[in-house]
Amino acid sequence: MNNTAAIAAGWLEPGEAEVAATFAGLVGASPLDRARAVGEGRRGLDRTFIQRAAAAGLFGQTIGAGGIARACIVAEQWGRTASPEPWLETNVVIEALSGAGVFAAGAGAGRAAILSDLQAGRALASWASGDLPGFWGRDDGVVATEAADGFVLNGELSAVVHADSVDWILLAARDAGSFSQFLLPARATGVSFAPLNSLDITRPSLNVRLDNVRLDAAALVGARGAARGGAVADIARQVQVALPLAVSQSIGAMRAVVDTAVAHARARVAFGRPIGSFQAVKHMLVDASLGIEMSAAMRDAAARAVAAGQDDAAEIVSMAKAFVARTGIDVAHAAWQVLGGMAYMWENDFHLYLRRLTADAAALGGEVWHNENVVTLQEKGQ
């Protein structure tokens, strides 16, 4: 092994190095302990850890256009350590609550307190992103009806991450001839949970049943029904912020498995040679690392397009998601093959990443949905 290459493998851009150092200080010497604890059902979400992360500026950021590049760097760290916390979901909810015009339209002081709790890690939120009207999934899962001093919600949300461990769930419901978004208190009367068995054991998901759940008018997030483009326009903006972050989490996981597989290929000897000297192994790992760099290049382009409000931003974020969905699984499988029997042991962390990369691919619209979206956007002239 030559020294330059050893440095190259762990090299970070200056902005990344600063975030990585802060993150390393936060997670300590066993960064996957939290993932294992949640995955093996030994412990729930570690709220103390989340508040420390928030204090370090790594949780609950308000992203906005200016902050998306840094948020992507932070996302890579959460993904690289298979972190179980709903970092992405909480950030998207913060984005939805603090988005331009939305906050003003919402209900003053109560909303400000929620936002401040989310930003400080005192409260957690999830996002019912399995069904997004105008995007993917069902668009009639939950129906809202107007009541005397607010709304009544009925229906079911599918596969909401950490639904029973968070304080708030952002959802879209059929309302007023179109759709509206609501911020649902997870413990409101009429809310019940049906836990699912999930491939990704670090981020369990649950179906959420809503039976005559009464929400006051302040629970409405953003424009109602078809007014001002309605919730679909707000959701579109949330999706544009969420996808570069989601993709960055996958990239972090890809880097973790490829680094592990490369280290294994250097150290493991078979037939009198380190297995990484065999071209069949070496080339598989190079293709995996190429997949990571192409994914990162797509992510960079997506983050920049969203930050600059480019007219092709929706297309680029969809391209990035489709590319990374496919590549994340390919990269995981390459590392799997190189690690061989090692990867089949529960005690090896590899399967946590495999589970996450596979679940990442399916979340927020899979490859097939985003591919079709790219073609449709092009046909419509964006």
Binding site: M1, N2, T4, A5, A6, I7, A8, A9, W11, E13, P14, V262, A265, R266, R273, P274, G276, S277, F278, Q279, V281, K282, H283, L285, V286, D287, S289, L290, E293, M294, S295, A296, A297, M298, D300, A301, R304, Q310, D312, E315, I316, M319, A322, F323, R326, V368, H370, N371, E372, V374, V375, Q378
Partner: protein, 427 residues
């Protein structure tokens, strides 16, 4: 020849360029005939016209803008060159095909770094003025990816007078050699040292006695690359580039610039690309096949479009990493070449899948239809030429990921002995 002074500001230079271009060059037409990757046959007459045009560009002081004045350049800054290229964008610049690019982007770069002062003054100005077109005499018929294994041999003509060399052997895949004046030739000058130690570079004139250039017909039907046969060709020692035996170090320069010429220099692609229109060839083929609404076809188109964008965005990303001081440095460019070497064949295969019969047969007067087949046949050029995908993977695996090299079966052997053993094993 017009000389623009170093003190000429970029904007004054731009204005001079704008005026000269408008008066001397033709504008590109809106719909230029598309030739797949430029690998079409060029006639000697056509090249002669382009040489004359290049001479005028040089005389006007717009060739070799950043090159030193003593080698026929202008000695100006990269900003001057960028200004000229921006102004020249709507015009048809002289085009001598791949050999024209190789002359400037590969051969001249090697000469600038490794040739003697006398050699540089003798050849470089003529390369800029279109008087000398150069090509690569790199691969032997029997040594391509393992370039250091060339057996084309030059020996001192000792006893026959002077310090000339006598060259024998065979080179192949040299693009445009049939209209070129010189080949940058890698030859073995010592069989009794280690493989990488016995190599030397020479300038070989295509028209000299003992050199035969045979144009070859490619799988596309075009005639573009050539085979050269050397039979006791006498090369003056003044045409040697670098020290005798230093050929492998010089080769690193040649290979680096060859890679950049085919993948684009990482320093020149630092702009974030935009996706642009959906893969136009695939969209057209889908329409011809009546499958524009077919879900599977749409998936294939989106995938090809994303892969293409990803390989372009990769160039921008890696340029940024290199500028930020990534320790793997120039080795990173192999990622771009490998990405294209994978993406381009996949794109071509998708075209066949989408178009079906429409992709494999076309009416005699259907020029667009013909380009689909041409693109298909050319789709592995990047995957093979200038270092195959497998060579890029070895470079990246060893220099970026830090994976161990294969055991070297040639270590401690002279080239002669390693060849003898390999032959013994293969029979």
């Amino acid at each position: 020849m017009t000389m623009h002074s170093v003190s000429t500001g970029v904007e004054a230079f731009r204005a001079a360029a704008r005026e000269w271009l408008a008066q001397n060059l033709a504008r590109r037409s809106g719909h230029e005939e598309r030739s797949a990757r430029g690998l079409t046959h060029r006639t000697i007459e056509d090249i002669a016209t382009q040489r004359a045009l290049q001479k005028r560009v040089h005389e006007a002081g717009f060739a070799g803008i950043t090159w030193p004045v003593e080698y026929g350049g202008q000695g100006l800054t990269a900003a001057h060159e960028a200004a000229f290229l921006e102004e020249a964008e709507p015009y048809r610049l002289p085009d001598m095909g791949i050999a024209g690019v190789v002359t400037i982007k590969v051969c001249a770069e090697v000469i600038l770094r490794h040739a003697s002062e006398d050699f540089k003054r003798r050849h470089l100005p003529k390369m800029l003025s279109g008087e000398e077109v150069w090509v690569e005499f790199f691969s032997d018929s029997a040594a391509g990816s393992d370039l250091a294994g060339v057996v084309t041999t030059a020996v001192r003509a000792d006893g026959q007078g002077g310090d000339d060399w006598i060259l024998n052997g065979e080179k192949v895949w040299s693009s445009g050699a049939y209209y070129a004046d010189f080949g940058l030739c890698l030859a073995r000058t010592d069989w009794d040292v280690a493989k990488h130690k016995g190599l030397t570079w020479f300038a070989v004139a295509t028209a000299q006695p003992g050199v035969t250039v045979e144009p070859l017909r490619e799988i596309t039907g075009d005639i573009e690359f050539c085979r050269e046969i050397f039979q006791n060709a006498r090369i003056p020692d003044s045409e040697r580039i670098g020290e005798a035996g230093s050929g492998w170090e010089v080769a690193q320069t040649a290979l680096r610039f060859e890679r950049e010429a085919s993948s684009g220099s990482l320093t020149s692609v630092a702009k974030m690309p935009r996706p642009g229109p959906l893969a136009p060839d695939l969209v057209e083929l889908a329409a011809r096949a009546g499958r524009s609404d077919d879900g599977h076809v749409r998936q294939l188109i989106a995938k090809a479009h994303a892969d293409d964008f990803a390989s372009r965005a990769l160039g921008e990303r890696l340029a940024r990493l290199m500028a930020a001081g990534h320790p793997a440095g120039g080795a990173l460019i192999s990622y771009v070449k490998l990405a294209r070497g994978i993406v381009e064949p996949n794109h071509a295969k998708a075209a066949i899948e989408i178009g079906g019969a429409a992709a494999v047969s076309w009416a005699k007067d259907d020029r667009l239809g013909a380009t689909f087949a041409l693109d298909y046949l050319n789709s592995r050029v990047t995957a093979i030429a200038g270092g195959t995908n497998e060579i890029q993977r070895n470079t990246l695996g060893e220099r970026v990921l830090g994976l161990p090299r294969e055991p070297n079966v040639e270590r401690n052997l002279t080239f002669r002995e390693s060849q003898r053993r390999a032959l013994a094993e293969s029979t």
